[in-house]
């Protein structure tokens, strides 16, 4: 899968690496500020800091 993706990226090797780094940064940004906060809200945490009946 990743090998296929790598072959799809055009350009010489340095450009490919640059493109991959930019894509990785974009993916990490989306994860950190949109996906992970959403997952954090979706996963119901146990009320582990409160006293309850």
């Amino acid at each position: 899968m990743y090998a296929t993706l790598w072959r799809l990226i055009p350009g010489p090797i340095w450009l490919r690496i640059l493109i991959v780094l930019v894509l990785l940064a974009a993916v990490l940004y989306l994860l950190a500020f949109f996906v992970f906060p959403w997952v954090d809200q979706m996963t119901a945490p146990s009320q582990d800091v409160t006293v309850d009946r």
Binding site: Y2, L31, F36, P45, D48, R53
Partner: protein, 268 residues
């Protein structure tokens, strides 16, 4: 020799892999990706998310304080500078500025209505207190939550709050490091309530007695003004609850200005 070796290294790419082999390859890569994502998420929870929530808390707290200092100035000025009863003959000799005012109307669900300062937790420790202890709408925002059934700041009885200790900004991380006499300041529109730390207690998750008006004494009539902080214990296990009790020792109207220990934080 080298030619043929390189040729052998390159050739396999060109060979047609069987469909089964391809599917298994993609599946394996997906599994690796999923594992990485889980690790990333865990790392995010304890590092970046803590920073994000702490910044959000600081700006929320500043916004609250700004609102009180501007909007509520006239209210405070009329209510506050009354009775500095130094002779101690009147009703409440315990506090230099007399009886703390009755709290305003109950805050709405998940509404931030107070700011808590704990110098022992850090010289810049400043978090909001919101109504309720729901994890999603309150506690996971990185501040503290107020048990709705308990009293309000400064009231006779028990003002009980909860906050996370491992994750979501870990506001109460150092709750076990509180020392006798440490000050905990709660700021509302009316002013600053100074609570003094008295002791820790460890209970089971069902130890609801700790948020009674008189902690652990059901149906007793309260006379003290208690602050109860609850969090999880041990860290990352949470099979118990750690409870920190403090008692109101002073209160300062807004018109007088913030107590010296936190005055640098309030205007910030």
């Amino acid at each position: 020799m080298t030619d043929s070796a390189q040729g052998e290294l390159r050739r396999p790419r060109r060979q047609k892999r069987s469909p089964v082999s391809r599917v298994i390859g993609v599946f394996g890569e997906l599994l690796i990706t999923a594992g990485l994502l889980v690790l990333l998420f865990l790392g995010w929870q304890f590092t970046l998310n803590g920073v994000i929530l702490s910044n959000q808390q600081a700006s929320d707290a500043d916004q609250l304080i700004d609102g009180w200092q501007n909007g509520g100035a006239s209210d405070g000025a009329t209510a506050a500078p009354v009775a500095p009863n130094t002779d101690g003959t009147t009703a409440s000799p315990a506090f230099a500025y007399g009886e703390p005012p009755a709290p305003d109307a109950a805050p709405g669900d998940a509404e931030e209505f107070a700011v808590v300062y704990v110098p022992r937790f850090g010289s810049d420790f400043k978090k909001t207190i919101a109504e309720g202890v729901d994890p999603r709408s309150v506690l996971n925002k990185g501040g503290a939550g107020h048990y709705t059934t308990t009293q309000m700041p400064g009231e006779v009885g028990n003002f009980a709050i909860a906050a996370h200790r491992d994750g979501w900004g870990s506001p109460f991380l150092k709750i076990n490091e509180l020392q006798l006499g440490d000050k905990i300041y709660v700021e509302t529109q009316a002013g600053w309530y100074t609570y003094t730390f008295r002791g820790l207690e460890y209970v089971t998750p069902y130890g609801v007695g700790v948020i009674d008006p008189v902690p652990q004494v059901p149906n007793a009539a309260p006379t003290d003004r208690i602050l109860t902080m609850t969090s999880c214990n041990p860290l990352y296990v949470a099979s118990e609850r750690i409870i920190a009790y403090s008692v109101l020792t002073d209160w300062t109207p807004r018109s007088v200005g913030a107590p010296a220990e936190i005055s640098g934080l309030v205007g910030a």
